[in-house]
């Protein structure tokens, strides 16, 4: 059944020669199983045929029966073994592919990874890889049997009695054609179905996530209609698909079953036997093995859909593996010092969409100084922050760290020099110590503690957490509060000793007490380092060495706070807004007496 649609799957299997070898064995074992089953039933027929002799020989009978037993046991034994081998191969292939994908992700631009998103990547790495199991483990042994069993059965029939073979040959091709019609992947219909399916899934996600809103507004009437609309569209798409495949499928249900073939053999057998063209034992053989070619196909009928799912998954895996890696320099340079500069940087996320996100941006951040980026949302602040650790390569101009173009550094070296502290703190499942130590594997306990102290995290770690540094933080740090997570990541950055810090300042802190602690931690992290901070609240950047105001991807102003306020431009306007916002407060209706 190696139809052309299998290429994405076989490409993936080819990535692991070991798995490929095992699958070949599984196919061979499946084939052996199919053939031995035929042989077993031939022996059963021979045993019974012996009884037709005038003087049946008990020993011949015993031999045939023994052969039959051996044949049948070998048949099921090798099929069973084929399944074991195929499953083993499939599990191994899963690990091979997942590690390949991990490698591809590590090599592609970080920005591309970020844009793909952890949800989509998880789906490919986990679900699509697992779906290959349908083809590799479940279908492979059948493929062997499908190839061998019909051939063995037809040969056996031909050798024993070619006339009965003629009868069977009337049916088998019809069944084969019918099956291949049904197994055909109706690509267009399938695409429609997949679209409808994705829409249903999106509607479900929206319905579930938006539920708090849904409930407080319209009791879900509007959103429920959106949900039911998507469900109905799916229902209609399926209706259309099944209507096209109905005939082929119904025909299969009628043809790919043993009875019609047996009926044909019986109907042919009566006149053949009457004219003594064939003998009764030969007819028995026909009845026993004539339907085996058909029986071999029937399990595949139920697997077809699963196999098509696998193929769709394989396409997505190949797509992810095909994303080109970020080019690494052939003779890498090491950064000297920690100055950061952007020179004439122009960048857009995709080439076909209008104005670039950044155009001709020049920013010089001398070693050990603090530069704040301010500007409205969408002005390009975060993009600048992403270009320094080379999440993307610039279109024009250059970004350099320590005097070296980031494209001339190995990307791991660059990331060792640049610590990223983003709004959404990243923690791994494990202990607090493990999380801090991520910044510098092999750091001593003393170093970890010192970093925690500097990040104002030591106190809460030893007093508030049950097991101190060995406390589990939970999945993505879920057992810690937002402020605590923030400080653990700052401790990690301090430990890493990176000389450049890119800081996306949080807009909101969870509670006032930890806000003060986080501020202390940031002050210690930035001390003596080169810092680029994306500032959302202007009050925090009044004192920095340099403020760069971005608007529409261009630098519109730069200077110190006092200069910029005096200049009465863009920054001065932002500052006025800031002052206004800080003085806002909700007021009660004073007539109410409490």
């Amino acid at each position: 059944m190696s139809n052309s649609g299998m290429k994405p799957v076989s490409d993936l299997v080819a990535l692991s020669p070991g798995v490929r070898g095992q699958l070949t064995r599984a196919l061979a074992l499946g084939a052996l199983g199919g053939a031995a089953g035929v042989a077993g039933y031939v022996c059963v027929a021979m045993a019974v045929g012996e009884l037709f002799a005038a003087q049946p020989s008990a020993s011949a009978l015993a031999w045939w029966i023994s052969f039959a037993l051996v044949g049948l046991v070998v048949s099921f034994g090798s099929r069973w073994l084929a399944e074991q081998v195929a499953h083993h191969a499939s599990f191994e292939l899963e690990v091979v592919l997942r590690r390949r994908l991990a490698d591809a992700l590590a090599k592609m631009p970080l920005g591309v990874v970020q844009r793909l998103g952890s949800g989509r990547i998880k789906k490919v790495m986990q679900d699509d890889v697992a779906a290959l199991h349908n083809v590799v483990a479940d279908a492979m042994p059948f493929f062997g049997a499908v190839a061998a069993q019909p051939i063995a059965a037809l040969i056996a029939l031909g050798v024993v009695q070619w006339k009965l073979l003629l009868a069977v040959l009337l049916v088998v091709p019809v069944a084969m054609i019918s099956f291949s019609l049904m197994a055909r992947d109706y690509a267009a219909q399938r695409a429609k179905y997949n679209d409808a399916n994705e829409n249903v899934n999106a509607a479900v996600v929206e319905f579930v996530q938006g539920m708090p809103v849904v409930r407080t507004f319209d009791d879900g009437r509007t959103s429920f209609r959106r949900f039911t609309d998507a469900v109905e569209a799916f229902t209609a798409a399926i209706g259309a698909w099944t209507a096209t495949s109905r005939t082929a499928s119904v025909f299969n249900k009628l043809v790919i079953v043993p009875l019609p073939t047996l009926l044909v053999i019986a109907a042919a057998g009566v006149p053949m036997l009457a004219t003594e063209w064939i003998t009764a034992p030969e007819l028995l053989l026909g009845l026993l093995i004539g339907a085996m070619p058909i029986e071999a196909i029937s399990p595949l009928m139920h697997l077809t859909n699963y196999v098509n799912d696998s193929k769709a998954g394989a396409v997505r895996i190949n797509e992810l593996l095909a994303i080109p890696p970020l080019p690494e320099p052939s003779s890498p340079k090491a950064p000297q010092g920690s100055a950061v500069s952007l020179t004439g940087v122009t960048f857009s996320y995709s080439t076909d969409r209008g104005a670039p996100v950044l155009s001709e941006v020049d920013i010089e951040i001398p070693a050990g100084s603090v530069c704040a980026l301010v500007g409205p949302s969408g002005s390009g602040k975060s993009t600048v922050a992403r270009l320094i650790p080379r999440f993307y390569d610039v279109e024009a101009g250059s970004v350099s760290v320590g005097g070296v173009d980031v494209r001339e550094m190995r990307s791991d070296v660059l990331l060792q020099h640049v610590a990223l502290v983003f709004q959404d703190p990243f923690l791994v499942e494990g202990t607090v110590a493990e999380n801090i130590r991520l910044g510098k594997p092999g750091a001593t306990d003393e170093e970890v503690r010192a970093a925690a102290r500097a990040a104002a995290a030591h106190d809460f770690i030893v007093t508030e957490l049950q097991d101190g540094y060995d406390s589990q933080v939970g999945e993505r740090g879920g057992r810690l509060s937002g402020g605590q997570r923030q400080r653990v990541t700052i401790a990690r950055a301090i430990l890493s000793d990176a000389q450049v810090v890119v800081l996306d300042e949080a807009t909101a802190f969870t509670d006032p007490e930890s806000e003060a602690a986080i501020q202390d931690a940031i002050a210690r992290l930035t001390k003596g380092r080169t810092v680029l901070v994306i500032a959302h609240r202007l009050s925090t950047v009044v004192d920095v060495d340099q403020i760069v105001v971005l608007d529409g991807g261009k630098v519109v102003e730069r200077g110190k706070h006092a200069e910029l306020v005096a200049a009465n431009g863009r920054y001065a306007a932002l500052w006025a807004r800031h002052e206004q916002a800080s003085s806002w407060g909700l007021t009660g209706s004073k007539e109410v007496k409490l």
Binding site: E92, F217, S223, T235, K253, S298, G378, Q580, A581
Partner: protein
Amino acid sequence: MKRIRRLMMLAAGPYAPQFRATLRISVIASLVQAAAYAVFIPLLAALSAGRFGEAWSWVGALAALVVIEGALRVREGAFTYDYWHLVTGATRTRLGDRLRSMPQQELNRRAAGDLTTVVGSNVTSAATGISSFSTLFVQLVTVPALLGVVVLVVDWRLGLVLVAATIAAIPLVRKLRALSNAGFRRVDEANAGAASRIVEYVQGLPVFKATGQAGADSERLVSVFTHQQEANAVSNRSASVPVAALQFLVQVAVVALVTLGASFVLDARLSLPLLLAVVVTAARFAEPLGAAVTMTKLFEMSEAALSRIGSVLAVEPLPVRPGGTAPTSFDITFDKVGFTYDGRTSPVLHEVDLVVPQRSLTALVGPSGSGKTTVTKLITRFADPQSGVIRLGGVDVGSLEPAELLRHIAVVFQDVYLFDDTILANIAMGRPDATEEEIIAAARAANVHAFISRLPQGYRTRVGEIGSALSGGERQRISIARAILKDAPVVLLDEPTAALDTESEVVVQQAIDNLVRGKTVVVIAHRLSTVVGADQILVIDGGTVAQRGTHEELITRPGRYADMWSAQLRARDWQLPAQPASP
């Protein structure tokens, strides 16, 4: 078996009668099929005896049965074509209804991803289980059973061989089911672990790359992948033993039957034609049983899907106590309210007493985890408190249908959720029968009309199409317009400006001023400066009301509020230090 049948009927929902009819057809078709195989007995007897005329009539009978069975199978299969999609539609609608009516707490407890799987792929597997696997199962079980009976009638001694094999198979099948269930659980756990590590890997890639822990040899990944492979292998291996034993049993039974039959023929205790017939029949006995074993996994997949659907459909909505009348005034009172989240042991609220007078502003402040948000959640019947009573305008909220209750309340959350629809539709959600003028007026009051008018398609712009182009502040103002349109007497605000940058803050603040005018307002505030003008400030700490009063009263008293206030003044004046540039 009964459980699966019940679950299938539940999932078939309005199509249960058609499904039942299909199962009946399936049973009849299997009877016909067994009868067709049984015809081989007289057919082969007639052939062996040279009675070809009679043989022809048996062939005729066989042909008739084949045609009848075919016709029945077509009708059985029609369910797949006529109802499969309708079953998925109806089940999804019912699941959606359940999601809408189940307590919000229950909804939050189940991860969104899980629910998506239930409503998404589990529904299709369940429908396939109903439409295809159930009838396949009927066939694979009924036909061998009937053939066993036929052999028993022809020759009870040979029949006993098949009966003995069947009896021996029962514990093996039980064992197989138990083992594969245990295996499924183990594999599920390993999969969940791997999935979460993958997400972690993707999110932490910059850190991992910097420290050489990224790539094919990433220890954190390799260890979970290896564990996953082991779980798969162990589960597969343990289930494979009973499978092997079952297959072996079936083959041995066939050979034993032939051996025993042949010896009977040699001793002239059985006629040869009957043996022929029995052998042909026995071969038909073995094949479906073998197929049933290999299909176990598919059966179990749909069973698991059915169970998960059943568990969602089984969640009851919050009970509504009798005696509820629509509230006519809108003060809120908590009377000794105690609340513990499902699955936790320590209460999050403890004998909370509070009064929010009508048309006043009450602020809830306190450290994170103190129970502020729980207070607002309970007002909306997110869940019912275990003790005490919450009243709206003197009416116990537990006696109001959630929909009736929520008619009087507008909520503005910190995280705004907009639907992938037009901006107009998103605002209109606040009051589905509002006119376009009213919607625009609400947008004006929410300070977002000018922004919307600048969009190329104005109010008809779809949120999904401009998605990321909407800033947090714009999204927040659209959600406030929705709340203004609703014009509910009670407004709950959960840190609505916490996540905004300076630029958006001012306009959002003005929008909020328009929303809360003349309403009964409860606001959760982190920045104390925003609520100094509140009529009443409640300091929630450790699940109780630790302090209450106006700002002026509270800052003069030593206590939690005064501490928070001074901590916040310090934080507000904090600045990133300037650094002397290195030489």
